[in-house]
């Protein structure tokens, strides 16, 4: 399982992103916070009792993991410097049903795994985890199609100016724009320091 966080930027613009605003509207989150989506389709319930948080989310994660899918994906190579990041993806469809999906998107989410920000309310510095910076292409990724029986090799690159490149990672998902279902996901937690395979 991997997770990313989109923050509302009203009080801390340094944590917000255009992708977060656009995708919150697309998912129809309204004013509910926090609110999570598992694989794009399972909406988390609102938890009123703190002790019930863990079992509810555990069960949702287990249910999502138990569902098989029709695509394998891995990040073959990755690189980052002060100007840009680049990754190479390999996608392998494992079932012919993927041929009928015509609204697939590669949603490559660039994040920083820890972002410091100062709270005037508390008077101290906080660290925000897994903070989304941008989605490559636009907030809903890049359109593509693939067919069973064909492996796809893909290169994605984007500028990263202004980020702490020591803490930048990337999550790449294949999402069906029509149903919002996330079909498959791959991640590199820290692009700069993760050992190449």
């Amino acid at each position: 399982m991997v997770y990313v966080i989109y923050y509302d930027p009203e009080t801390h613009p340094e944590l917000g992103s255009l992708a977060g605003i656009a995708r919150a509207e697309w998912y129809g989150t309204g004013m509910e916070r926090p609110l999570a989506f598992f694989n794009g389709t399972f909406r988390s319930p609102q938890i009123t009792l703190p002790d019930s948080f863990y079992p509810v989310y555990r069960d949702m994660i287990d249910a999502a993991r138990a569902r098989k899918t029709v695509l394998e994906m891995m990040i073959d190579h990755w690189a980052i410097d002060s100007a840009s990041l680049t990754i190479e993806l390999k996608l392998t469809p494992t079932d012919s049903s993927i041929d009928t999906l015509t609204t697939l998107r590669l949603v490559a989410i660039v994040f920083e795994d820890s972002v410091p920000y100062y709270s005037f309310l508390i008077g101290d510095t906080f660290y925000s985890p897994m903070t989304v910076r941008q989605v490559i292409g636009d907030s809903f990724g890049l359109p593509f199609t693939c067919r069973f029986g064909q492996d796809w090799d893909t290169v994605l690159t984007t500028p990263v100016t202004g980020y702490n490149i020591n803490r930048v990672g990337i999550v790449v998902s294949v999402q069906n724009l029509e149903t919002r279902e996330v079909i498959q996901t791959a991640i590199k937690w820290r692009i700069k320091t993760e050992v190449k395979q």
Partner: protein, 45 residues
């Protein structure tokens, strides 16, 4: 106009190149990695 500019900037920033090669036609189920997208407010709010 601003949205169009943002859109084209995003598209310009992302470069995608696709190549394909033949793979065996053996249907099978793949394990799925779960993506959780969390919409939240900063920790001090």
């Amino acid at each position: 106009m601003k949205m169009m500019k943002i859109l084209f900037t995003g598209i310009g920033a992302g470069i995608i190149m696709l190549n394909c090669s033949d793979a065996p036609l053996i249907s099978r189920a793949a394990n799925r990695v779960v993506l959780v997208e969390l919409f939240s407010t900063p920790l001090d709010e």
